[in-house]
Amino acid sequence: MNVMTKTERALEMKDMKISAKNVQVHYGDTHAIKDVSVEIEDKTVTAFIGPSGCGKSTFLRCLNRMNDTIDICRVEGDILLDGEDIYDKRVDPVQLRAKVGMVFQKPNPFPKSIYDNIAYGPRIHGLARNKAELDEIVEKSLRRGAIWDEVKDRLHAPGTGLSGGQQQRLCIARAVATEPEVLLMDEPCSALDPIATAQVEELIDELRQSYSVVIVTHSMQQAARVSQKTAFFHLGNLVEYDDTTKIFTNPEDPRTESYITGRIG
């Protein structure tokens, strides 16, 4: 594709943060994602829902090229971040991942102190020039992760000693510490209890002020609660993508309707 079309497209969808066009993903011989096109808006929470194995996590991991770490995975099609193809040869996935942060299903803090967990990203990206700046980033990130009040007295205690919900918020804080533009969340609440889930959901809603958030979830209630846009995946296809209210009240595709009413999945 030439530069002209890229620019045109970027102009065309002005608030589009990420636009995926005809994405195909193969795991060896398995065709995991079939021709998915999606436009993800800036400062919006976009939810991916669908039954297990429908490819929503796989698609999410395409957005920051985490799939590169899997040898047999092949991605085709275009995924543009602010109009730039993230699968371009010149793109270093490491640099991309600093812009597109990720939070995983299972809380995975480093076996280091809470402080070091947050400071690691800014350190390797050179975001702080001195200790004071780093301290500031750590505090800001922990505040954004809505966990500052709980850990401010024990910043040098191990991050793995926190409870599950705290660990997950720590991971979110760690992800926002590198100042990403997009935050990808892969079932961030599936390992949490309802109270921790509520806290994380609240947090996601706050993060929407500054980031474009993409969340994969198994819980349709959660999708309905936190997202503005919802995409329904089924068997590797993107069945329907629309405003969340529309998907949950008046879906166009019969498969979407049967899924949200609990008949398939």
């Binding site: 920051n64 985490m66 770490t69 040898d71 047999i72 490491v94 640099q95 991309l96 991942r97 600093a98 812009k99 942060g101 990720m102 939070v103 995983f104 299972k106 995975n108 803090p109 480093f110 076996p111 690691y120 990203g121 390797i124 990206h125 191990p158 793995t160 000693g161 991971c171 760690r174 992800a175 510490a177 590198t178």
Partner: protein
């Protein structure tokens, strides 16, 4: 034994709807019996293992502990000026001209004096016969002292001289009057003298530091032989192994585990590493002979070459254990690091490697311990059979000059004819085992220290 076989059979007592849980049904009884039997087998297996271990360790200690004790004869030797420095000039060059033969009369005189003092009748006409009670190295000890302290000539100095190996054997119960009947080195008459001298306190056993620090001695002087020099040889070899095998092994495993693409070349390499771990060590010995000595012209019998050969042997062990410990680091840690934009290398060095460290260290030390006890590869590069009778002059010489190694030294002693050497071989085994245990303890301590419990 298996559950499948238990399921068949109609009369096995299929639980009926009315069976009580207070009563064991047929199948449960059978299963419980099988489990009890299996436990009994396990306990029996462990018991057999323990018995062997106890037998092994007690026999090693029983046979080897004698090497740590040695019989000494304490003598007041008058260093006669007329024998040692006729000119009286105390010229060190002239003193050095007096060979050990020149010292023999002094020793004979001292022995006679000691016997007189103890009230022992001298049954021998020749002083030479009397001297047989002492190690033939005794005169050399005296000469070394005189050359180091020429000003003591003329004085009477107390020496603790090694008793001959037969006398030592007699005091340890290895040599009897019957066994001496056809022995040219000592006669039963000597033993009578020894008995009396022992009562007088002239002959006594004491701790033998020389065995731990000393050099190997010739075939006829087992009482002088020590393992010290070959211990040093082993030490230099271990330094070479550590310096070569750890970086190469860890780098190779990190590459294979974290960076290498999954293809047939990687698979081939992996299979071959596993195969190398099972290659007989003598194969590495002949490889070392061909490559390091015949091709690269490194010195024969040198700890450097030995270390390189043992490196080849240890590498697969280190690679396999390092890869296993890298594999055991949860992938979520890698994802977390990659997810916040760490590069692959940062991920490995900041997060994966520190977590894998205890396993890597344990594997390395186990590899080293294995290398420490290895004899076969040393056979072919000339370290077995080399008589380690001199200390290396310096650190470089320690690597480059010929030496033996502890297991090679043990083998060397075990094949010598004199039973006194047999005892020393067992003593050497004790020292080797102490080394191995120390290394294992270090491994445990390091693992504890590096292990993150959080």
């Amino acid at each position: 034994m298996s559950d499948a076989s238990l399921q068949s059979g109609p009369d096995m007592g299929t639980p009926s709807a009315k069976s009580s849980i207070l009563q064991l049904d047929q199948r449960t009884k059978k299963r419980n019996a099988a489990e009890a039997r299996f436990r009994a087998y396990g306990i029996a297996a462990i018991a057999v293992g323990l018995v062997f271990l106890v037998v092994l360790i007690s026999s090693i200690i029983f046979k080897g502990v004698g090497a740590f004790q040695q019989s000494f004869i304490t003598l007041e030797v008058e260093l006669l000026e007329s024998k040692l420095d006729k000119s009286g000039e105390r010229d060190i060059e002239k003193i050095k001209k007096v060979t050990t033969f020149g010292y023999n009369p002094l020793i004979e005189n001292a022995l006679k004096a000691a016997m007189e003092e103890a009230g022992v009748e001298n049954p021998f006409t020749k002083g030479k016969d009397l001297r047989k009670m002492l190690s033939s190295g005794a005169a050399a000890d005296l000469r070394r002292f005189v050359i180091a302290n020429p000003d003591r000539i003329g004085d009477t100095v107390q020496f603790r001289l090694l008793a001959s190996s037969r006398v030592d054997g007699y005091l340890k119960g290895r040599v009897t009057r019957e066994s001496l009947a056809r022995d040219k080195n000592l006669t039963p008459v000597h033993l009578d003298v020894v008995d009396q001298l022992k009562d007088a306190g002239v002959v006594a056993k004491s701790f033998n530091l020389g065995f731990i620090t000393g050099a190997d001695a010739s075939e006829s002087r087992p009482e002088q032989a020590g393992i010290g020099v070959s211990m040093l040889g082993s030490f230099y070899m271990m330094l070479v192994v550590l310096a070569c095998a750890l970086p190469i092994g860890v780098a190779a495993s990190i590459y294979l585990e974290e960076f290498a693409p999954q293809n047939w070349i990687t698979d081939l390499i992996e299979v071959n590493i596993s195969n190398l771990a099972a290659v007989p060590s003598i194969v590495f010995g002949i490889l070392g002979l061909a490559v390091f000595i015949q091709f690269a012209h490194l010195p024969q019998s040198a700890p450097l070459v030995g270390g390189l050969v043992l490196t080849l042997m240890t590498l697969p062990t280190i690679i396999i254990s390092t890869r296993a410990s890298l594999k055991s680091v949860p992938p979520s840690i890698r994802e977390a690091a990659l997810g916040i934009g760490a590069s692959k290398m940062q991920t490995v060095f900041h997060h994966v490697l520190p977590l894998a460290m205890p396993g890597i260290l344990t594997g390395t030390i186990i590899g080293l311990a294995q290398a420490l006890g290895e004899t076969a590869p040393l056979l072919l590069i000339g370290m077995v059979g080399y008589i380690a009778s001199n200390y290396p002059g310096g650190i470089i010489e320690g690597f480059m000059s010929p030496n033996s190694a502890m297991p090679a030294q043990i083998y060397e002693w075990a094949k010598r004819a004199d039973p006194a050497y047999y005892e020393r071989a067992w003593g050497g085994i004790i020292i080797l085992l102490v080394f191995l245990m120390t290394m294992n303890i270090i491994a445990i301590i390091l693992r504890r220290r590096f292990e993150r419990r959080w």
